[in-house]
């Protein structure tokens, strides 16, 4: 797309949006708007959007028929924060009070000296190099709300953000900030169809020896459009783990940009998606920068695609000079349940240190007929046998979730999807 066309796309996209310029984030939002105006919105000819058409994220208006709300992690012991079509629902939410944690809303935090001003739009802006991510900038400039979480101790419960949707035309932009202080630990859950179209940015700053766990369930309306971004800065000896299960959706682009800044830290991102139909499109785009010594990163992505569904994986590991003893692992795999589905993978390694261990692999395959016959010959009906084999395929990714109850919740949801979408 020509530069002018990109700017025209941007003008159309933001014409109807309110620009909240006040409060402690006013300045960051202003800067974001300037940056956004310089870059415009992406087009198909942008290398970073080669496999995913940004049209649905660019569109000025959105209309999508949504299925009944379907929220994961109902049984999780967690503080619940509910958004309905992007609007905070106080009545449905718990009090925003949790031991060892400060929780506030972006839309309500008006004090000038706010801890989040060191993060809001800052990690996002750092993540714009070397590749521009215009929708993340849009999220910084125009977010209507979001949750600000500062963890100072070990949170005694998880925090669960629940997105519900009632309107088929809801177009929602949210921006969350998380700061996990020295040695602190928290688990953040996200689930539900938030809107006809949802754009989110989450910036996570993890201090030395802190631990951040993130488990997300996207689904299950077929027509929803979602673009998410995680920007994380990971300090010395810290741990970052993020897992996303994605069910259905005509457009999902999940970006994660991880900056491994402190020595001896660990960063894992993983995800599974299941999609049925020629209009299903799911894209995981990951960029991990190793800028410290003796750090470990891991990417595990598995996609189950059928009836012409499309899956995309773009994953990059950048090892900077001096990031010695880096241990980087990346695997992206798809299970194609028919001949029409496609998986497009672009694994990349760029290494400027000489004492590192990095590996990547990417495969596309079908259900193993021999294994299927073996199961059936023992009396397991075909559908059940297929679903066992699909879940087996997904198991390596699901194993990335530390909390077994959360993993089991997602496993059951995936199983029920498989039962409904007979292969």
């Amino acid at each position: 797309m020509l530069a002018q066309a990109k700017l025209d796309a941007l003008s159309a996209r933001i014409a109807g949006l309110h620009f909240p310029s006040t409060g402690w984030q006013g300045k960051a939002r202003g800067h974001a708007l300037e940056r956004l105006t310089a870059m415009g919105l992406p087009g198909r000819r942008d290398e970073y959007w080669r496999y995913t058409d940004p049209a649905k994220l660019n569109a000025a208006h959105v209309q999508a028929k949504l299925d009944a709300s379907d929220v994961a992690f109902q049984d999780a012991e967690a503080l619940k924060i509910v958004f309905v079509d992007g609007v905070f629902d106080a009545a449905a939410s718990d009090d925003l009070a949790l031991g060892g944690v400060e929780i506030a809303r972006l839309a309500e935090s008006v004090t000038d000296l706010h801890w989040a001003s060191d993060i809001y739009g800052v990690l996002e802006a750092q993540g714009q190099m070397p590749v521009e991510r215009p929708f993340a900038v849009l999220g910084t400039a125009f977010a209507t709300d979001g949750i600000l979480i500062r963890v100072t101790g070990k949170a005694n419960r998880a925090i669960s953000i629940i997105y519900r949707s009632e309107s088929d035309t809801s177009d929602v932009i949210l921006h969350h900030c998380v700061k996990v202080e020295d040695g602190a630990e928290v688990t953040l859950l996200e689930s539900g169809d938030a809107a006809a179209r949802l754009l989110t940015v989450m910036e996570v700053d993890i201090a030395p020896a802190a631990r951040f766990h993130h488990v997300r369930a996207q689904g299950r309306s077929h027509h929803r459009v979602v673009g998410t971004h995680i920007f994380a800065r990971i300090g010395e000896g810290a741990l970052f783990k993020s897992f996303t299960a994605s069910i259905n959706g005509v457009m999902t682009r999940n970006e994660a940009v991880l900056d491994i800044a402190g020595n001896d830290s660990v960063a894992h991102v993983a995800g599974v998606c299941v999609g049925d139909g020629g209009d299903f499109h799911h894209d995981d785009t990951i960029f991990i920068t190793h800028a410290a010594e003796r750090c470990e990163s891991r990417q595990v992505y598995k996609k189950v695609l059928k009836n012409g569904a499309t899956g995309v994986f773009q994953g990059k590991i950048l090892v900077k000079p001096g990031a010695q003893k880096t241990d980087g692992y990346q695997i992206s795999q798809s299970l194609l349940l028919d001949g029409d589905s496609q998986f497009l993978a672009k694994p990349e390694l760029e290494i400027y240190a000489d004492d590192v261990k990095c590996s990547h692999g990417s495969t596309s395959g079908a259900i193993d007929d021999t294994a299927l016959f073996y199961l059936r010959s023992r009396g397991v009906p075909q559908r059940r046998a297929q679903s066992l084999l699909v879940l087996a395929f997904l198991a390596e990714a699901l194993a990335e979730i530390e909390d077994e109850a959360l993993a089991e919740d997602l496993r059951l949801r995936l199983e029920s999807w498989l039962d409904r979408h007979e292969a």
């Binding site: 193993d368 016959f373 073996y374 059936r376 010959s377 009396g379 087996a392």
Partner: protein, 252 residues
């Protein structure tokens, strides 16, 4: 119990005929052995009976207690009481052995209108059967056949047989890849299952296995047909003289 009548089978994808009129009747309580040189169609017979893809039945029938097997799905054949112990048991990464066994058992019970076995009862049942086959708990926790030695895989087949309690058991070269001790263990497992209501079809190259699992009837298969049928002494003759003389004797 098992009645195979004039069974003709070719490969689905190519014009290669493998079985050329197999006739075989196995009565309840009996152990039949099928021996024969490589390429005679022994393994194909076991695959066709259990419903594996890739074969086309061009003529004939195969019934289990009067029910036509060849029209059933593989899982229906299993629920009807047919069991094939694989020559090469399949490794299934990501599927736990316990999950697999319990899913199989309960699926069969459900298909027959029987109550499912509870997790607790199942555990007890598996432990008991596994112990007699010297299968340790660690093997049960691993994914199906993944990282199992050749002997462990075959013992796992027999364990499945013991749990599922089929009426008609087909053992496809269960002795291949086993050392003498492992073969004895497997044979003991099979012998423990012998009873009046159950029949076995033991496919093997060698007479050795038949020292441990004593057959009532021995068939020699060649070129897609059963060309000779006799008692246990036939197996000894094969061991002594090889197939060539025997086959020449019957003009096959």
């Amino acid at each position: 119990m098992l009645k195979i009548n004039n069974l003709h089978v070719k490969l689905e994808e190519e014009e290669k005929v493998i079985l050329r009129g197999v006739d075989l009747t196995v009565d309840a309580g009996k152990v039949h052995a099928i021996m024969g040189p490589n390429g005679s169609g022994k393994s194909t017979l076991s695959y066709v009976l259990s419903g594996r893809d890739g074969y086309e039945v061009t003529d004939g029938s195969a019934t289990l207690d009067g029910e036509e097997l060849l029209e059933m799905e593989p899982e229906e054949r299993a629920a009807a009481g047919l069991f094939l112990a694989f020559q090469y048991p399949v490794e299934i990464p990501g599927v736990g052995n316990m999950t697999f066994l319990r899913t199989a058992l309960n699926a069969q019970r459900k298909a027959r209108g029987e109550a499912e076995v509870s997790a607790g009862d199942f555990l007890k049942l598996v432990r008991e059967k596994a112990a007699s086959l010297k299968i340790d708990a660690d093997m049960m926790k691993r994914p199906v056949n993944v990282g199992f030695s050749g002997g462990e895989k075959k013992r796992n087949e027999i364990l499945q047989m013991a749990l599922l309690e089929p009426k008609m058991c087909i053992l496809d070269e269960t002795d291949s890849g086993l050392d003498v001790d492992a073969m004895k263990l497997v044979a003991e497992g099979v012998n423990a299952l012998r009873d009046e209501g159950r029949a076995f079809l033991v496919i093997t190259h060698y007479q050795r296995l038949l020292d441990h699992i004593r057959p009532d009837v021995v068939h020699i298969m060649a070129n897609g047909r059963i060309v000779l049928t006799g008692g246990p002494e036939l197996a000894l003759e094969v061991e002594k003289n090889g197939y060539t003389d025997i086959l020449a004797g019957v003009g096959a």
